[in-house]
């Protein structure tokens, strides 16, 4: 049979129905016949017919009134009105209401078939048009979605933000509640982001998934989407975390860029969803957008870390040059003094010989201190600084280093002001003493003789605040952070003073941080500097 279209004929003349059924079935149309408007409507509510042939005068309704109801149910149905002489006016009215044609009784079968034929052709065109429109709309939607994903992920070079915003878009555009991304990392997939998953599910999610077996590696291998309609029927261990909490279906696509699959994007729903090809295409496209953004972010990260490494390397080279210089200076004094005593051409007097020995002794101390600083810095770098905390009084810490501070500030006026209500703090006395000594040493180094140096400690909301202030050259704002960097050297120390290793403040910072505190500087160039650190009171 050629024709597969279905036709419903509505007429109260049963003989007529019988004849017309024969004619239509003869031509291959699937034909139904009913004698009343109510039966016609109940059939049409259940199924679609390509055409309806409708008598205008029916026992329970006027065909002209029935027509709008039918068209409301099936807008594209082909309606052909049948009419007697008397009701031509009604038939014309029906055309206005959307009927395709009207035929007068008695019917000419040839005429009927030709009208049906023309009508069906027109209907086919309408259907095709509609399909094209739908296709266009689908493409539009995919394009818009991809555009919005691509815009969202292009906002940042931060890998985490890219993945988070992409997953948010996936939820918004595809309308799934759960989604996640794993990225490939050497021989594993690592969980990099998720959206719409419960805390429990997140806990169950594997942080790492093998690269060699399982659904993720299948996704990568076949380089295309994988859809699981019913998670219960499969036994994917890597998706167990979804199954456990009742998710029913899963779709996953590889994150592909330039022929390389760098991870997977998965979505899940908690009902048996048949993922439409549209959505799978869309998901694949989103996967590509995420892959591009992720790769960009990775490249950016690599470039930044290369830059950071280069900076670190330059800093280390500068540090080594500096250390070498700092070691050579006291060594020059030691070697030169000893060498002087060994020269055969000059015999020095007793006092001069003693002076040489004093120089050797002093610079051996300088060398020792330098080596200690270097060791301390390497401990800090290795996070291996030992801090032996015990409940201590700050005043005892000061007493222990008082002689040394007096020596350091012999040409300055030192003022020590420790508030009486300062509670006992849990500290390593020796280390905190080192910090204070170091700060006072800096104050002396960067201020003129006969100026004031203030050491002050106060009690302030569950912490002890200790400061060392001078009236020296001060520190420009742009250096307030940098001076704590390892190996940083400040300019402007007084002439005749030895330059340090650039390690002192880095060491201070390391010690203070090991006590759970912070160290910072406040300074106006030309008006002195105030270094402060706090220690929490337990």
């Amino acid at each position: 049979m050629k024709n597969k279209e279905s036709i419903l004929v509505v007429d109260d003349d049963l003989d007529f129905l019988g004849i017309i059924r024969k004619i239509l079935e003869n031509k291959g149309y699937k034909t139904s016949t009913v004698p009343s408007a109510s039966e016609a409507l109940s059939l049409l509510e259940k199924q679609f017919y390509n055409a309806v042939i409708l008598d205008i005068s029916l026992p329970d309704a006027d065909g002209t009134e029935l027509l709008p109801k039918i068209l409301e149910l099936h807008p594209y149905i082909l309606a052909i009105m049948l009419t007697g002489h008397s009701s031509v006016k009604n038939a014309v009215e029906s055309l206005n209401r959307g009927a395709f044609a009207y035929l007068e009784k008695p019917l000419n079968p040839e005429n009927l078939l030709s009208v049906i034929n023309r009508g069906m052709e027109k209907q086919l065109l309408v259907f095709e048009n509609r399909q094209l429109m739908d296709e266009l709309e689908r493409h539009n939607r995919i394009t818009n979605t991809l555009l919005s994903v691509s815009q969202a992920v292009a906002q940042t070079l931060d890998l985490q933000k890219i993945i988070d915003s992409a997953l948010e878009k996936v939820a918004e555009c595809i309308g799934v509640e759960a989604s996640f991304v794993y990225l490939r990392d050497k021989d594993h997939f690592k969980l990099k982001g998720y959206h719409g998953l419960s805390t429990q599910t997140v806990k169950d999610m594997p942080e790492e998934v093998s690269n060699n077996t399982g659904i993720f590696s299948n996704l990568i291998e076949q380089s295309g989407p994988i859809i699981i309609e019913d998670l219960k029927k499969t036994n994917e261990p890597d998706l167990g975390f979804l199954n456990n909490v009742g998710y029913r279906s899963f779709a996953g696509v590889p994150l592909a860029i330039l022929g390389e699959n760098i991870g997977v994007l998965g979505i899940a729903t908690d009902f048996n969803q048949i993922f439409s090809p549209n959505n799978v295409d869309l998901l694949t496209g989103i996967g590509r957008e995420i892959a591009i953004a992720v790769r960009n972010a990775q490249l950016y990260e690599e470039a930044s870390s290369v830059k950071a490494l280069r900076e670190l390397d330059a800093m280390r080279t500068a540090f080594l040059a500096n250390v070498s210089h700092e070691l050579r200076t006291p060594l020059a004094v030691i070697k030169g003094s000893a060498n002087s005593l060994l020269q055969p051409d000059v015999i020095f007097d007793e006092q001069t010989r003693r002076d040489f020995l004093v120089s050797i002794d002093k610079d051996a101390d300088t060398l020792t201190r330098l080596v200690d600083d270097l060791l301390m810095i390497s401990r800090l770098e290795a996070n291996a600084l030992e801090v032996k905390k015990k409940p201590s009084k700050l005043i005892d810490v000061i007493s222990a280093i008082k002689d040394r501070l007096d020596n350091l500030t012999v040409k300055h006026h030192m003022h020590i002001d420790i508030a009486e209500e300062i509670p006992t703090v849990n500290i390593d006395e020796g280390r905190i003493g080192e910090v204070l000594t170091n700060l006072v040493e800096n104050a002396v180094k960067f201020s003129e003789d006969n100026t004031n140096i203030y050491i002050k400690a106060i009690n302030k909301n569950k912490e002890v605040l200790i400061s060392v202030a001078d009236e020296g050259i001060g520190i420009p704002l742009e250096l307030h952070q940098r001076i704590f960097e390892r190996f940083f050297q400040g300019d402007g120390r007084k002439a005749g003073r030895r330059k340090g290793t650039g390690l002192g403040l880095a060491i201070c910072q390391g010690i203070v941080e090991a006590h759970g505190g912070e160290i910072w500087v406040e300074s106006t160039p030309g008006k002195g500097a105030k270094f402060s650190f706090n220690i929490p009171v337990n």
Partner: protein
């Protein structure tokens, strides 16, 4: 003979003390400065025969001191630095320093270098046989230590003059790197090839119309240098 005046510039008081003691004990008159600015003042104020100069100093560093002193004085400068980098060495010599010694150093070595610097300065132990030298516009009056190129006077530092004198006196002979280093500087300098390169460079910049295509001091690649006098006359 009057005492020679030596200015020691170093920001480390211990080094200043060490050098002062040793140099005084060997008959030198000592002046000290603890930074670049002070040293420049001292050079202008006092009569200084030689400067021993540290590089890393606050305010004005040694490289800058060297450059500024060379703008108006040919006083010998010996750099005494804890920076042992070859680049620093070449840079300082290029700027006009006469010698470069790295800390830590031996007293005897420093004394020898000071003597070498003074030897270049003008009491030549061996007076040249001839009084003058002339070659294609370059004229040297050995006795007056005066050099002119096409009649225009050129100021040379003592070491530059010593090198030029040695090349001129031995013109048309090829002088190897070793021969030059030993004759002009001293035996202990035979490994300091960059001294020669830097000082020949300095001479060429002062004497040659086109230092890149020198007409007076010719390089014999891999061997040494010579002054060729096809048209020169020795009086």
């Amino acid at each position: 003979m009057d005492k020679k005046h030596i200015l020691i510039v170093d920001d480390d008081p211990a080094i200043l003390r060490l050098l002062s003691t040793n140099l005084k004990a060997r008959g030198y008159e000592i002046f000290t400065a603890i930074d670049g600015a002070e040293s420049l003042e001292a050079v202008q104020k006092d009569f200084i025969d030689l400067i021993i100069l540290d590089l890393m100093m606050p305010k004005i560093d040694g490289v800058e001191v060297c450059r500024r002193v060379r703008e108006w004085s040919d006083v010998p400068i010996i750099i005494l630095s804890a920076r042992g980098d070859e680049n620093d060495k070449v840079k300082c010599l290029d700027l006009g320093a006469d010698d470069y010694l790295t800390k830590p150093f031996g007293i005897a070595e420093l004394m020898a270098r000071i003597k070498t610097a003074f030897r270049h300065r003008g009491d030549p132990t061996v007076a040249p046989a001839q009084a003058t030298f002339a070659c294609d516009g370059l004229e040297i009056n050995f006795a007056k230590r005066r050099v002119t190129v096409d009649g225009k006077e050129v100021t040379l530092t003592p070491t530059e003059f010593a090198l030029l004198q040695h090349l001129a006196v031995n013109s048309d002979k090829v002088l190897t790197h070793n021969m030059l280093l030993q004759s002009v500087w001293g035996n202990e300098y035979s490994s300091e090839k960059e001294y020669l390169r830097v000082f020949v460079g300095r001479l060429r910049r002062k004497l040659e119309p086109d230092p890149k295509n020198p007409k007076y001091i010719q390089t014999i690649p891999g061997v040494g240098y010579h002054i060729a006098t096809s048209t020169a006359s020795v009086a």
